[in-house]
């Protein structure tokens, strides 16, 4: 496959074709102006935005949401901060109205300290929302059985964590993520959360993950715009490497010429 063919290598989720395999969040930036510059530099075509807290009593987050809409990109609203199925479902319904999209990044958080997903609530909320016509992007762990149940609940994409939200530790359980990829070869898989450096993003793509979603690693970098561009390059590098089929690692050096005096080394 040559480089030009790879340019057509779109990611398809819920029927939408995305040219960029980088999805970015919109919180914690120094300002909305820097957020807009960073998103442009990242080349992302999808941005996530949270609603739970900003909505307030009268959906008073309108000014910021208008800024997000003004980016002209596809919006993936999220249910960040929701801890119960009911909260997540209500927030998703509000998001659908405000952003006029069936997409929802579903987070049901187990507890505030670790921000681990409550996978039981997640599956339940995913079923309710899918039945209601939503296209659900569930934030989950790498657990295979939970993944199976999410697909059964109607999800057509899975978003396992790399590491806890905001930790920047990269891919904590590479074995588990590989197993998930191997078990669901045809499901779009997005590493969501825990990415700290562009190398982590490249690694996810090299493993065959379809995409990565991240926020803090760009928003909290010293220069968010430059870091956004670095992630763009890393995601592209990782994807091209995956398509090029990386060599298999081996335990020993592989001498290109025979070593005399040793049998078959």
């Amino acid at each position: 496959m040559d480089a030009i063919a790879r340019a057509d290598d779109a990611l398809e989720v819920y029927g939408a074709k995305l040219g960029s395999r980088l999805l970015v969040g919109t919180s914690m930036y120094e300002s909305p102006a820097i957020l807009a510059d960073a998103v442009r530099a990242s080349g992302a075509e999808v941005v996530t935005v949270s609603l739970r807290r900003e909505a307030g009593g009268a959906r008073a987050g309108g000014a910021f949401w208008d800024l997000i809409k003004g980016l002209g990109l596809r919006v993936l609203p999220n249910t960040a901060g929701c801890k119960t199925v009911k909260e997540a479902v209500t927030t998703a319904q509000m998001a659908r109205e405000i952003f006029d999209t069936p997409w929802i990044k579903l987070e049901v958080i187990g507890e505030d300290d670790t921000l681990q997903p409550d996978v039981f609530g997640l599956v339940e909320a995913a079923r309710i929302l899918s039945n209601d016509g939503f296209q659900v992007f569930p934030y989950t762990t790498e657990d295979l059985i939970v993944a199976e149940k999410l697909l059964g609940a109607g999800c057509e994409v899975l978003m396992p964590w790399g590491a806890p939200i905001g930790s920047g530790r990269g891919l904590n359980n590479v074995f588990g993520l590989k197993a998930l990829r191997a078990h669901f070869p045809d499901t779009p898989l997005v590493v969501d959360a825990g990415i700290g450096a562009p190398s982590h993003a490249a690694q996810a793509l090299e493993l065959g993950y379809d995409s990565v979603l991240l926020n803090t690693a760009i928003a909290k970098a010293g220069d968010a715009v430059a870091m956004a561009h670095a992630f763009k390059l890393a995601v592209r590098a990782g994807r091209e490497a995956f398509l090029a089929t990386p060599m298999e690692p081996r335990d020993m050096a592989a001498p290109s010429t025979p070593v005399f005096g040793r049998a078959f080394s």
Binding site: E30, R53, E54, G56, A63, F64
Partner: protein
């Protein structure tokens, strides 16, 4: 020269004061019944130009340094006790990032933190001390400005009025209405902040203490009453003033409790909140249109930025000066 200043929040008060000091005839008009009753009322009052660099662009530090002189010499209501930044053990990465983005600090270990703030001795393993920073009590500062203006023959204040209805009679109008000017200033939005005031005799702090946390950082600023502390402030992309959420209070109280457990027995004296007028780059702007100058977008830096903005607005009025970094 006669100038009308609309809005007696911190931006309008400093602008009126600066103009009056330059012998301009000033009429300050405010729709509320007194000075400093808008979002200035809920401010923390930290004059922390170096700390603020953590989440703001360099111009905030540059303009903010001028405020130290203003609040300690021109109108001496601030105390220069420095400010202290601390973090719990597991949030050390946040101290490292904070230090990387800021300057003019001393790195502290737990013992050094205890020398600076005895009640915090060995509560936090790492910290940063910004010795040259100051803090003030916002409500006293706005009152002090109003008193100064009341004592000047060329300045008058009009409370409870939207305008004087005499636009033509002025050489200039300085619009300092903050968020109320949203309809006239494209891009201006509100960023909600919620705060509370605690009263306790069990903790003694002499300077603002900021505790870093990845999701809910908090600052605690001593008020002039030696037993009162302002705890703030949430930052929510939301434009509803006056609606204080339980979550914001739980987070502020939880963080105060982490700074010192004795805050658990403190009396809650006040809860409050308002929206901060903010442009999309979170930076202040001076907009000149004909004979009207709008000073707005002070965001969370009202007391830090207003002296520098007031002096520049006065330069525009009296010397036809131009400040491209603020007036684009």
């Amino acid at each position: 020269m006669r100038v009308q200043v609309i809005g007696a929040g911190i931006a309008g008060l400093t602008a009126a004061f600066e103009l009056a000091r330059r012998n301009v005839e000033v009429e300050l008009v405010e729709r509320r019944e007194g000075p400093g009753l808008g979002c200035s009322y809920y401010a923390g009052g930290m004059i922390a130009p170096w700390c603020e660099r953590e989440a703001a662009e360099p111009i905030v530090t540059e303009l903010g340094v001028e405020a130290l002189d203003f609040w300690t010499k021109t109108l001496p209501v601030a105390q220069t006790n420095g400010s202290l930044v601390v973090a719990p053990p597991r949030d050390k990465p946040d101290v490292v990032s904070f230090a990387r983005r800021t300057s003019e600090f001393e790195e502290c270990d737990g013992a050094r933190i205890g020398e600076i703030e005895p009640d915090l001795a060995n509560r936090f393993p790492y910290g940063l001390f910004f010795a040259r920073e100051a803090h003030l009590e916002p409500r006293e500062a706005t009152q002090a400005l109003a008193r100064e203006l009341a004592g000047m023959a060329n300045a008058r204040m009009h409370f409870g009025r939207e305008s004087l209805g005499d636009e033509a009679g002025f050489d200039w109008t300085i619009d300092c209405r903050g968020f109320a000017a949203k309809a006239q200033l494209p891009g201006l939005r509100g960023v909600k902040g919620e705060m509370l005031v605690l009263r306790t005799k069990d903790v003694s702090l002499s300077r603002p203490v900021r505790m870093l946390h990845p999701r809910r950082p908090v600052y605690i600023v001593p008020r002039s009453d030696p037993h009162e502390y302002m705890v703030g402030a949430s930052m929510v992309e939301n434009e509803e003033p006056g609606r204080i959420t339980a979550r914001a209070m739980m987070e502020l109280l939880g963080s105060a409790y982490t700074v010192h457990p004795a805050f658990a027995e403190a009396e809650i004296v006040e809860i409050g909140g308002d929206v901060r007028p903010t442009y999309p780059d979170n930076l202040p702007r001076i907009t000149k249109r004909g004979r009207t100058i709008a000073i707005n977008g002070l965001y969370r830096h009202g007391f830090l930025l207003s002296p520098a903005l007031a002096s520049r607005a006065a330069d525009i009025v009296t010397k036809d000066a131009h400040f491209p970094e603020l007036m684009q």
